[in-house]
């Protein structure tokens, strides 16, 4: 869809014809730039907005019980957020017939986040520019091992274990997270340098081949841990190694749930 007007029209139709029970989209508040809104009344579709800084990845709401209880859903998505929705399809968290994607054409300029510079889904696709995060990655790769370790250990030490990163992430859909597992306890659940290291490491590992680099975890982190760097690095290596980009094709098997007989094993003796 090209404009918010078309989205509103479609949303109205969907609600009036009762093809969906709720439309999730962006609204405009006083002062605030944008915020997620949940529309059940077709009269209220005019509240849907789309302009600069609609950075939320709304896909996270698709799995919230208070949203799911409205039956079939429609969701306003930018091209990038659609990757999250497709990721949820591919991991059996949603059925494609239960979600209507109202995909907005986005020129990736208005939003203006780091991720937009290397957007994979904008229409028309423009040649890849330099992602500022890649610069950060290069800096880290230039560090000696111990310095790298200290860099991340210091990042992770700040973690207050509020789990905002997890709550905002559409792909952290486990009802009970590994960190809440006891007997055995995999990760110490209180803030401590070791537990924090383990938690942030584990979350990054769990997102391998699944993270769509929406950047929400880094944005939500109250202490500014550079989770985006970690995720970006892993997404890049997944693409390099397995030619896989998360959320592009809902039918494609996530890279860790499949294999090739001739996969790289240079690191194995």
């Amino acid at each position: 869809m090209n404009s918010i007007h078309e989205v509103r029209e479609e949303a109205r139709k969907l609600l009036e014809e009762k093809r969906v029970g709720m439309v999730i989209g962006y609204g405009k508040g006083k002062g605030k730039k944008n915020y997620p809104i949940f529309i059940t009344d077709p009269q209220k579709v005019e509240e849907l907005h789309f302009e600069s800084d609609c950075f939320y990845n709304l896909a996270v709401y698709l799995r919230k019980p208070e949203v799911c209880s409205h039956g079939k859903l429609a969701i306003v998505v930018k091209g990038c957020d659609a990757r999250s929705v497709r990721g949820l399809f591919s991991e059996n968290q949603l059925k494609s017939e239960e979600v209507v994607m109202l995909e907005l054409k986005c020129d990736a300029k208005g939003i203006g986040r780091d991720k937009c510079t290397t957007c994979r889904v904008k229409n028309p696709l423009t040649p890849e520019e330099k992602n500022p995060i890649d610069g950060e990655i290069a800096k880290i790769l230039a560090m000696p091992m111990e310095e790298r370790f200290r860099f991340f250990a210091e990042e992770f030490k700040r973690c207050i274990r509020c789990y905002a990163c997890r709550q905002i992430c559409p792909h952290c859909f486990c009802k009970t997270c590994i960190v809440e597992k006891s007997e055995p306890q995999w990760i110490s659940s209180t803030p401590s340098p070791l537990g924090n290291w383990s938690w942030n490491f584990t979350r990054a590992f769990h997102l391998i081949g699944r993270c769509v680099e929406c950047g929400e975890c880094a944005r939500a982190c109250p202490v500014g841990i550079r989770l985006d760097i970690l995720n970006r690095y892993l997404a890049k290596s997944v693409e390099e190694k397995y030619q896989f980009i998360a959320g592009m094709d809902e039918k494609a098997a996530p890279p860790l749930t499949t294999y090739k007989q001739n996969d790289n094993q240079d690191f194995i003796r």
């Binding site: 991991e91 059996n92 968290q93 859909f173 486990c174 009802k175 009970t176 997270c177 590994i178 597992k181 007997e183 055995p184 995999w186 769990h206 098997a253 996530p254 860790l256 749930t257 499949t258």
Partner: protein, 673 residues
């Protein structure tokens, strides 16, 4: 508090020479929860075992660690002994302090410290061992064989003669497979039908074999010992119970120019037909695509002439259900059609035929009654060129493998040709001759030396037609790589030994059954050397060319091997197996089904969790303990930690890790004493 007993073996001097077993025993005695820690010269001897058994009873142990040789040696011995003493055998673990310690280290202090660490880690692990029970699965002693060629026939007869019921499913109207269409068989040149048809009749008459011909497997569910199979009986349009097989319908049917599948397209059949005279069952089927009544709505001559009134135009496909304990897949092969080889004029020139077509031309029951004639004009071919490796070992055709049977049948064809056309010339183009089998090489030598077949080493580049003195001939251009020359042969007929492929639908059937296949769609065996007739799915066995190109003796040997495996499975009412299987906690599972994707055994299925009013709340993974082999792949991939492996739980492993590391200071103290 745990009550753990630790029993340390000297193994004569094998352990005690480098490990101070007394110190190990002392060290373990101080571990919380360890109530007894003793060493003995030969723990595995009767008196040694008695020490453990008595301690289990007297000290009321709820966990045992035996520190001795590798568990591969004596785990079973000590678990049995523990069970005899009333302890669940899975509460006993072996600490390997011989192969992994005393035998590989010389320094006594270091070896003793390592033995303490290994034993301590095992003690920590055993705290979390669960009381497990071997899993028993009931067995339905009834087999299904899919495919009624020689492999399927042999498997069905062997199982049935072993006293078990067999359901034999054949896709075409008759059993017999490719072998029924062969002329003679190598290396003995005995008539194929003469050796096959008695077996076919035996199948038909066997009280333990239920034959579904003109039927296909629709779906398979369940697991080893407990499959539920749906079979689609295709509408034959004939009531087989009242039909007497008199053949009058076939005789009177006016639709007579249909290419016969059995004759490989070289002969004709009617619209109502029995594929060949010795067919089993010897009951006709109406080919609805060609029948005048089905296409044009009139005729019904067969109905009129049928004495017992067995024609059923209104018959529909019928689905029957069978309960089965084991399945043998014997779906066989097909060969690439001549049309696959445009460079050789396949499909364009009627005298370029495949090996299977040549079989029909050479067969006494074939369309020419065994006289060799060109399909185009009926002339006797004075020169025939046989091309082996047509498609096989040819990456350009997408086939990397050797079709294995061609070298032999090409030699046979050259021989049969010479026997039928005296003075004729048989050329064989080959890459190399692979005749490794009993009396096989001798057979090929006979073709060359006695029957004067001319073997030319090299590939044929192309075949084209040329009219010479009013007769259309085939010019074969190729290279003789031994002489390094181009050769050109003017032939009357070209026979392609075209590559063997799995039969159409093999992959689709494998998906229904849930068993793996390779990139060419041949079924994969569980182990290429040690389990060649078993598939990786418990209860599914393989026979014949469905697994790889095979000749008749190999297919028969396979079939008997598979039948024997089936009978081993059926020899007990229940199957017992170790309890190391995956367990799912459905509260934690959130249904991403990564586990399902990585499970090699299709042991994971989807279970709907419903509320009281029947609404589906979520869909979670469920493990079928009958199928699960306990590899643990599902557990490592599970982010939510919703599953775990009995016998190797996360808790046991974490505890073992901790056991190694918490010992450091403690073990040093003991060693220094």
């Amino acid at each position: 508090m745990a009550r753990i007993g630790v029993f340390i073996c000297w193994c004569g001097e094998n352990i005690s020479r480098t490990v101070d077993v007394v110190k190990v025993a002392e060290a373990m005695a101080g571990v919380p929860g360890v109530v007894t820690s003793v060493e003995y010269k030969y723990m595995c001897s009767d008196p040694g075992q008695k020490i453990m058994k008595e301690s289990i009873k007297n000290d009321a142990l709820d966990g045992v660690v035996v520190a001795l040789c590798s568990p591969l040696m004596h785990e079973k011995t000590f678990r049995t002994a523990a069970e005899e003493a009333g302890l669940n055998p899975f509460l006993l673990e072996v600490a390997n302090i011989r192969e992994h310690c005393s035998w590989v280290h010389e320094n006594k202090e270091e070896a003793t410290k390592k033995a303490i660490a290994i034993t301590r880690s095992t003690v920590e692990r055993v705290r979390y061992n669960l009381q497990l029970k071997n899993i028993t699965v009931p067995i339905t002693a009834r087999a299904m064989v899919v495919g009624g060629g020689i492999a399927g026939i042999q498997a069905a007869l062997d199982i049935a003669n072993g006293g078990h019921e067999v359901v034999l499913v054949e896709r075409t109207p008759s059993i017999g497979g490719h072998m029924a269409g062969l002329s003679e068989t190598f290396p003995t040149l005995d008539c194929s039908q003469c050796i096959l048809t008695p077996r076919m009749v035996e199948v038909a008459r066997h009280p333990k074999i239920k034959l579904y011909s003109y039927a296909e497997v629709e779906s398979v569910s369940g697991f080893v010992g407990n499959f539920e199979v749906k079979i689609r009986k295709k509408a034959r349009s004939v009531d087989t119970s009242s039909c007497t097989g008199c053949g009058i319908c076939q005789e009177k049917c006016p639709q007579k120019n249909i290419a016969s599948e059995f004759e490989e397209g070289l002969g004709k059949r009617k619209a109502i037909y029995v594929p060949f005279p010795q067919a089993v069952p010897n009951k006709p089927v109406i080919d609805r695509k060609h029948c005048l009544y089905f296409t044009k709505g009139k005729c019904k001559i067969c109905e009129k002439v049928c004495g017992p009134k067995a024609i059923r135009y209104e018959q529909e496909d019928e689905i029957v259900e069978e309960r089965i304990g084991a399945i043998v897949l014997a779906t066989g092969y097909e060969t690439l059609p001549a049309t696959f080889f445009p460079e050789y004029g396949g499909g364009r020139y009627p005298d370029v035929i495949t090996g299977l077509q040549f079989e029909r031309l050479a067969s006494a029951s074939g369309p020419t009654s065994g006289e060799l004639k060109r399909p185009s004009d009926g002339r006797r071919p004075e020169t025939v060129v046989f091309l082996s490796c047509a498609g096989s070992r040819d990456l350009a055709k997408g086939i990397s493998y050797c079709s294995k049977i061609c070298c032999m049948y090409v030699a046979k064809h050259a021989m049969l040709y010479q026997h039928k056309v005296h003075g004729g010339k048989a050329y064989v183009f080959y890459m190399d001759v692979r005749a490794s089998g009993k009396n096989y090489d001798e057979f090929v030598r006979r073709a060359i030396e006695q029957d004067k077949a001319i073997y030319v080493r090299g590939r044929v580049a192309r075949v084209y037609e040329k009219e010479i003195e009013g007769v259309k001939k085939l010019v074969v251009k190729g290279a003789d790589t031994l002489l390094g020359e181009q050769v050109e042969i003017v032939a009357d007929m070209v026979v392609l030994a075209s590559a063997v492929k799995p039969s159409v639908g093999a992959a689709a059937l494998a998906q229904k059954v849930g068993t793996p296949y390779d990139q060419h769609h041949f079924y994969s065996e569980a182990h290429p050397k040690l389990r060649p007739v078993e598939s990786n799915t418990a209860g599914i066995f393989l026979a014949g060319a469905a697994q790889a190109p095979k000749d008749i003796p190999e297919s028969v040997a396979d079939a008997s091997a598979a039948a024997s495996k089936v009978q081993i499975l059926f020899s007990r009412k229940e199957m017992e197996r170790d309890p190391y299987v995956s367990m799912v906690n459905s509260d934690r599972c959130f249904g991403c089904f990564s586990c399902e994707a990585v499970c090699p055994y299709r042991a994971i299925s989807r279970k709907e969790i419903k509320n009281r009013s029947g609404e589906v709340l979520k869909v979670v993974a469920e493990v079928n303990a009958g199928l699960c082999q306990g590899c643990g792949g599902c557990i490592a991939i599970c982010r939510a930690k919703a599953c775990d492996l009995a016998g190797y739980t996360d808790q046991q492993i974490f505890s073992a890790i901790r056991g190694f590391n918490t010992t450091s200071t403690y073990e040093e103290e003991v060693v220094k004493k």
